[in-house]
Symmetry: C2
Subunit: 112 residues, 2 copies
Protein backbone atom coordinates (compact mmCIF):
# COMPACT_ATOMS: atom_id res chain seq x y z
CA UNK A 1 0.00 0.00 0.00
CA UNK A 2 1.62 3.16 -1.16
CA UNK A 3 0.03 5.96 0.89
CA UNK A 4 -3.01 5.12 3.00
CA UNK A 5 -2.45 2.80 5.90
CA UNK A 6 -4.26 -0.49 5.86
CA UNK A 7 -4.68 0.06 9.60
CA UNK A 8 -7.23 2.74 9.02
CA UNK A 9 -9.77 0.05 8.26
CA UNK A 10 -11.66 -2.02 10.86
CA UNK A 11 -9.62 -4.96 12.10
CA UNK A 12 -12.39 -7.38 11.25
CA UNK A 13 -12.52 -6.18 7.66
CA UNK A 14 -8.75 -6.47 7.36
CA UNK A 15 -8.90 -10.04 8.62
CA UNK A 16 -11.66 -11.27 6.37
CA UNK A 17 -10.10 -9.50 3.37
CA UNK A 18 -6.86 -11.36 4.06
CA UNK A 19 -8.64 -14.71 3.93
CA UNK A 20 -10.48 -13.70 0.76
CA UNK A 21 -7.08 -12.87 -0.69
CA UNK A 22 -5.82 -16.36 0.10
CA UNK A 23 -8.88 -17.73 -1.69
CA UNK A 24 -8.48 -15.43 -4.69
CA UNK A 25 -6.52 -17.80 -6.93
CA UNK A 26 -8.09 -20.78 -8.71
CA UNK A 27 -5.02 -22.87 -7.99
CA UNK A 28 -5.50 -22.38 -4.27
CA UNK A 29 -9.19 -23.22 -4.50
CA UNK A 30 -8.18 -26.38 -6.34
CA UNK A 31 -5.63 -27.24 -3.65
CA UNK A 32 -8.27 -26.93 -0.94
CA UNK A 33 -10.63 -29.20 -2.86
CA UNK A 34 -7.97 -31.86 -3.39
CA UNK A 35 -7.01 -31.75 0.29
CA UNK A 36 -10.65 -32.09 1.25
CA UNK A 37 -11.23 -35.08 -1.01
CA UNK A 38 -8.08 -36.91 0.01
CA UNK A 39 -8.30 -35.93 3.70
CA UNK A 40 -4.62 -35.13 3.48
CA UNK A 41 -1.87 -35.43 0.96
CA UNK A 42 1.72 -34.63 0.26
CA UNK A 43 2.94 -31.80 -1.90
CA UNK A 44 3.90 -34.12 -4.75
CA UNK A 45 0.35 -35.37 -5.16
CA UNK A 46 -0.88 -31.82 -5.48
CA UNK A 47 1.77 -31.10 -8.08
CA UNK A 48 0.47 -34.06 -10.10
CA UNK A 49 -3.09 -32.78 -9.92
CA UNK A 50 -2.36 -29.17 -10.80
CA UNK A 51 -1.04 -27.43 -13.93
CA UNK A 52 1.72 -25.75 -11.93
CA UNK A 53 5.38 -26.34 -11.14
CA UNK A 54 6.41 -27.83 -7.82
CA UNK A 55 7.85 -24.57 -6.56
CA UNK A 56 4.67 -22.73 -7.45
CA UNK A 57 2.48 -25.24 -5.62
CA UNK A 58 4.75 -24.92 -2.62
CA UNK A 59 4.32 -21.17 -2.74
CA UNK A 60 0.53 -21.45 -2.86
CA UNK A 61 0.61 -23.86 0.06
CA UNK A 62 2.58 -21.32 2.01
CA UNK A 63 -0.05 -18.68 1.31
CA UNK A 64 -2.82 -21.01 2.45
CA UNK A 65 -0.85 -21.94 5.54
CA UNK A 66 -0.16 -18.32 6.45
CA UNK A 67 -3.88 -17.58 6.11
CA UNK A 68 -4.49 -20.49 8.49
CA UNK A 69 -6.60 -22.44 6.01
CA UNK A 70 -4.32 -25.46 5.85
CA UNK A 71 -1.94 -27.21 8.19
CA UNK A 72 1.24 -28.96 7.21
CA UNK A 73 3.50 -31.30 9.02
CA UNK A 74 6.77 -32.90 8.11
CA UNK A 75 6.52 -36.62 7.49
CA UNK A 76 9.95 -37.94 6.72
CA UNK A 77 11.29 -36.32 3.60
CA UNK A 78 7.75 -35.26 2.64
CA UNK A 79 5.31 -32.66 3.86
CA UNK A 80 1.78 -33.74 4.58
CA UNK A 81 -0.94 -31.11 4.24
CA UNK A 82 -4.53 -31.06 5.35
CA UNK A 83 -7.44 -28.68 5.76
CA UNK A 84 -7.71 -26.67 8.95
CA UNK A 85 -11.34 -27.44 9.54
CA UNK A 86 -11.72 -24.90 12.31
CA UNK A 87 -10.54 -22.13 10.03
CA UNK A 88 -12.95 -23.22 7.31
CA UNK A 89 -15.82 -23.27 9.79
CA UNK A 90 -14.87 -19.84 11.07
CA UNK A 91 -14.63 -18.46 7.54
CA UNK A 92 -17.97 -19.99 6.67
CA UNK A 93 -19.54 -18.20 9.60
CA UNK A 94 -17.81 -14.89 8.91
CA UNK A 95 -18.79 -15.02 5.25
CA UNK A 96 -22.36 -15.79 6.19
CA UNK A 97 -22.41 -12.84 8.58
CA UNK A 98 -20.94 -10.50 6.00
CA UNK A 99 -23.25 -11.51 3.19
CA UNK A 100 -26.25 -11.48 5.50
CA UNK A 101 -25.33 -8.00 6.64
CA UNK A 102 -24.98 -6.76 3.10
CA UNK A 103 -28.12 -8.53 2.00
CA UNK A 104 -30.30 -7.61 4.94
CA UNK A 105 -29.35 -3.97 5.32
CA UNK A 106 -29.69 -3.27 1.65
CA UNK A 107 -33.43 -4.07 1.91
CA UNK A 108 -36.05 -3.42 0.84
CA UNK A 109 -35.35 -2.55 -2.79
CA UNK A 110 -32.70 -1.60 -5.24
CA UNK A 111 -32.71 2.16 -5.18
CA UNK A 112 -30.44 2.72 -8.13
Amino acid sequence: MAFASINEFPKKDIEIAAVFKALSHPGRIAILKVLAKKQSCICGELVEDLPLAQSTVSQHLKVLKEAGLVQGEIDGPRSCYCINKDAIKKMKRQCGDLFDFIDKYSEPVQTC
Copy 2:
Protein backbone atom coordinates in the same frame (compact mmCIF):
# COMPACT_ATOMS: atom_id res chain seq x y z
CA MET B 1 0.09 -15.09 -14.91
CA ALA B 2 3.50 -15.62 -16.32
CA PHE B 3 3.57 -19.19 -17.64
CA ALA B 4 0.65 -21.47 -16.76
CA SER B 5 -2.69 -20.56 -18.22
CA ILE B 6 -5.44 -19.64 -15.84
CA ASN B 7 -7.71 -21.54 -18.22
CA GLU B 8 -6.28 -24.83 -17.09
CA PHE B 9 -8.39 -24.54 -13.94
CA PRO B 10 -12.11 -25.37 -13.69
CA LYS B 11 -14.30 -22.51 -14.85
CA LYS B 12 -16.22 -22.51 -11.59
CA ASP B 13 -13.05 -22.15 -9.56
CA ILE B 14 -11.88 -19.31 -11.78
CA GLU B 15 -15.18 -17.52 -11.28
CA ILE B 16 -15.37 -17.80 -7.52
CA ALA B 17 -11.69 -16.89 -7.20
CA ALA B 18 -12.39 -13.71 -9.18
CA VAL B 19 -15.13 -12.69 -6.74
CA PHE B 20 -12.89 -13.49 -3.77
CA LYS B 21 -10.29 -11.24 -5.37
CA ALA B 22 -12.79 -8.39 -5.55
CA LEU B 23 -13.47 -8.95 -1.84
CA SER B 24 -9.79 -9.14 -0.92
CA HIS B 25 -9.29 -5.51 0.07
CA PRO B 26 -10.62 -3.99 3.31
CA GLY B 27 -11.55 -0.82 1.48
CA ARG B 28 -13.84 -2.74 -0.82
CA ILE B 29 -15.42 -4.60 2.10
CA ALA B 30 -16.01 -1.21 3.70
CA ILE B 31 -17.58 0.14 0.52
CA LEU B 32 -20.01 -2.77 0.39
CA LYS B 33 -21.00 -2.21 4.02
CA VAL B 34 -21.62 1.50 3.49
CA LEU B 35 -23.69 0.80 0.39
CA ALA B 36 -25.70 -1.76 2.31
CA LYS B 37 -26.39 0.59 5.20
CA LYS B 38 -27.35 3.55 3.05
CA GLN B 39 -29.22 1.50 0.42
CA SER B 40 -27.37 3.50 -2.19
CA CYS B 41 -25.04 6.41 -2.26
CA ILE B 42 -22.91 8.57 -4.48
CA CYS B 43 -19.19 8.25 -4.84
CA GLY B 44 -18.52 11.41 -2.83
CA GLU B 45 -20.21 10.00 0.25
CA LEU B 46 -17.99 6.95 0.09
CA VAL B 47 -14.93 9.17 -0.20
CA GLU B 48 -16.01 10.94 3.00
CA ASP B 49 -16.39 7.64 4.82
CA LEU B 50 -13.12 6.07 3.72
CA PRO B 51 -9.44 6.91 4.30
CA LEU B 52 -8.77 6.99 0.58
CA ALA B 53 -8.54 9.56 -2.19
CA GLN B 54 -11.42 10.07 -4.59
CA SER B 55 -9.58 8.47 -7.47
CA THR B 56 -8.77 5.43 -5.38
CA VAL B 57 -12.36 4.98 -4.28
CA SER B 58 -13.43 5.26 -7.89
CA GLN B 59 -10.92 2.55 -8.80
CA HIS B 60 -12.25 0.23 -6.09
CA LEU B 61 -15.81 0.86 -7.25
CA LYS B 62 -14.76 -0.15 -10.74
CA VAL B 63 -13.34 -3.42 -9.41
CA LEU B 64 -16.55 -4.15 -7.51
CA LYS B 65 -18.63 -3.27 -10.56
CA GLU B 66 -16.57 -5.49 -12.83
CA ALA B 67 -17.02 -8.34 -10.40
CA GLY B 68 -20.75 -7.69 -10.55
CA LEU B 69 -21.07 -6.98 -6.84
CA VAL B 70 -22.30 -3.41 -7.21
CA GLN B 71 -24.30 -1.49 -9.76
CA GLY B 72 -23.81 2.13 -10.67
CA GLU B 73 -25.89 4.56 -12.58
CA ILE B 74 -25.32 8.11 -13.62
CA ASP B 75 -27.51 10.61 -11.81
CA GLY B 76 -26.81 14.02 -13.17
CA PRO B 77 -23.20 14.91 -12.53
CA ARG B 78 -22.98 12.19 -9.87
CA SER B 79 -22.80 8.43 -9.91
CA CYS B 80 -25.13 6.53 -7.67
CA TYR B 81 -24.00 3.12 -6.53
CA CYS B 82 -25.81 0.27 -4.86
CA ILE B 83 -25.39 -3.39 -3.98
CA ASN B 84 -26.26 -5.98 -6.60
CA LYS B 85 -28.31 -8.13 -4.30
CA ASP B 86 -28.57 -11.00 -6.74
CA ALA B 87 -24.80 -11.22 -6.97
CA ILE B 88 -24.48 -11.20 -3.18
CA LYS B 89 -27.06 -13.95 -2.88
CA LYS B 90 -25.30 -15.99 -5.54
CA MET B 91 -21.95 -15.52 -3.86
CA LYS B 92 -23.44 -16.47 -0.51
CA ARG B 93 -24.68 -19.69 -2.01
CA GLN B 94 -21.44 -20.46 -3.84
CA CYS B 95 -19.39 -19.77 -0.73
CA GLY B 96 -21.65 -22.00 1.29
CA ASP B 97 -21.28 -24.77 -1.26
CA LEU B 98 -17.52 -24.44 -1.35
CA PHE B 99 -17.04 -24.37 2.39
CA ASP B 100 -19.51 -27.20 2.87
CA PHE B 101 -17.64 -29.26 0.30
CA ILE B 102 -14.32 -28.61 1.99
CA ASP B 103 -15.75 -29.18 5.42
CA LYS B 104 -17.78 -32.27 4.62
CA TYR B 105 -15.30 -34.12 2.47
CA SER B 106 -12.47 -33.56 4.86
CA GLU B 107 -14.36 -35.63 7.47
CA PRO B 108 -14.04 -37.46 9.70
CA VAL B 109 -10.78 -36.40 11.34
CA GLN B 110 -7.66 -34.41 10.85
CA THR B 111 -5.18 -36.89 9.49
CA CYS B 112 -2.11 -34.74 9.69
